[in-house]
Symmetry: C2
């Protein structure tokens, strides 16, 4: 697949994917992360911006795109048998911007990985790589056939599943996010599907103090991920 | 100005701006929030989607756009002389998506308002209204000539100014965000300008536990706003 943009290509070079070839404008090709001595084995072709745009199909390429091996998803089980994992599970998030933003926040917060259903969900496209600022190159992502089954498997593995819901009785700041945890987030607008909500151990809300009805799913993810991250890292000290 | 999208138009109807006229597709015009009995005085014109797109200049209109009075900014001083305000100040945030997302998180977290410099900053355009899901209709926004002068004025009014910086010595979760507070965020990539950072009382970081270099500014804003909101609301109980 072709990925584009400075952060996505730079992070792909630092991550596990094979980077087969890079196309860059004359200016971008001079950037230190592309032209340093450890990059001598890289196949780097200088092209005009119009050619790069045509190759990646987006005007957001920032002068660079790359051909990389296809994204390798894990299975849900791969994420569960880590010591006390912190997992984000997304229910029908279809917008690539939202998926990318959540991947970036999850990687920054030190999450173990992220779980996507195979159907009715955005997958890791070049737009998601861009929206994540390249974070998807370092974040284990799993695809599962059925999210409810995955949550059942997580509970059987002694993880706690917390679903975000705007009108839940419990507020997130009262929750103990230490240990093995799955944070479950639903799509903007519709929220969690009832069967997914029912599969959670506890539903939690992020209190709203204004007049609009909800946080964006990407902001909700950042708030919950960092609430969990702070508890888990202060417990470890 | 013309705003577009379901949430932006609905929130404009609930907010202080004058809504002069609404154009909607046949389907959108039937939605309860547009067609209810309390909407009888509304000038609502049914138009095909192509006409609505031409009027608002965006394909993201969701079947509805409206002519509203221009956005009214406050002065920075207006926000300072509220009892213990929680203010977000943005240094050179130029991307309308980021500005909209930060406005939405600020409104949800119960912030008093948001401060933008007059120059080199996004203003409240229709794209920002859309990205904020209409939250800008309920969030006081101030424009200031000079952000450093505003921070000096805030400090003189006994507020504490906290600047977000990736490599700051203090981590945000150790900070007391109660009382009058300004959260200062810089642009994606460049961060706070040195003079703005120097004008803050304390620089705070959000710990990064992954391999990518930074959170998005919208995620950072959500994390800091909710850290402050939780402290302030639990203190009030």
């Amino acid at each position: 697949m072709i990925i584009y943009g400075r952060n996505p290509v730079r992070e792909a070079l630092r991550g596990p994917r094979e980077v087969r070839r890079i196309w860059a404008t004359k200016n971008a090709a001079r950037e230190p992360w592309l032209s340093g001595p450890d990059r001598s084995s890289l196949e780097l072709l200088v092209e005009p911006a119009t050619r790069i745009e045509a190759m990646c199909g987006s005007p957001s390429h920032q002068g660079v795109c790359a051909e990389v091996s296809s994204f390798r998803y894990l299975s849900g089980t791969d994420l569960l048998y880590v010591d006390e994992p912190l997992i984000v599970a997304l229910d029908q998030i279809q917008d690539p911007q939202n998926l990318g933003a959540i991947c970036r926040a999850a990687e920054c917060a030190g999450a173990t990985g992220l779980v996507l259903p195979e159907r009715r969900s955005a997958a890791v496209t070049a737009a998601v790589c861009k929206a994540s600022a390249g974070a998807v190159e370092h974040l284990p992502l799993a695809r599962v056939r059925n999210l409810v089954d995955f949550l059942a498997e997580a509970k059987a593995a002694s993880l706690w599943c917390y679903g975000a819901q705007a009108d839940a009785a419990s507020s997130y700041e009262q929750v103990d996010f230490r240990g093995g945890v799955v944070l479950v987030l639903g799509s903007e607008g519709r929220g969690l599907r009832p069967r997914v909500a029912a599969a959670c151990d506890l539903l939690v809300r992020i209190p709203l103090h204004g007049r609009v009805a909800s946080l964006s799913v990407a902001s909700a993810a950042a708030v919950l991920l960092y609430a969990a991250s702070v508890q888990r890292h202060s417990a470890a000290e």
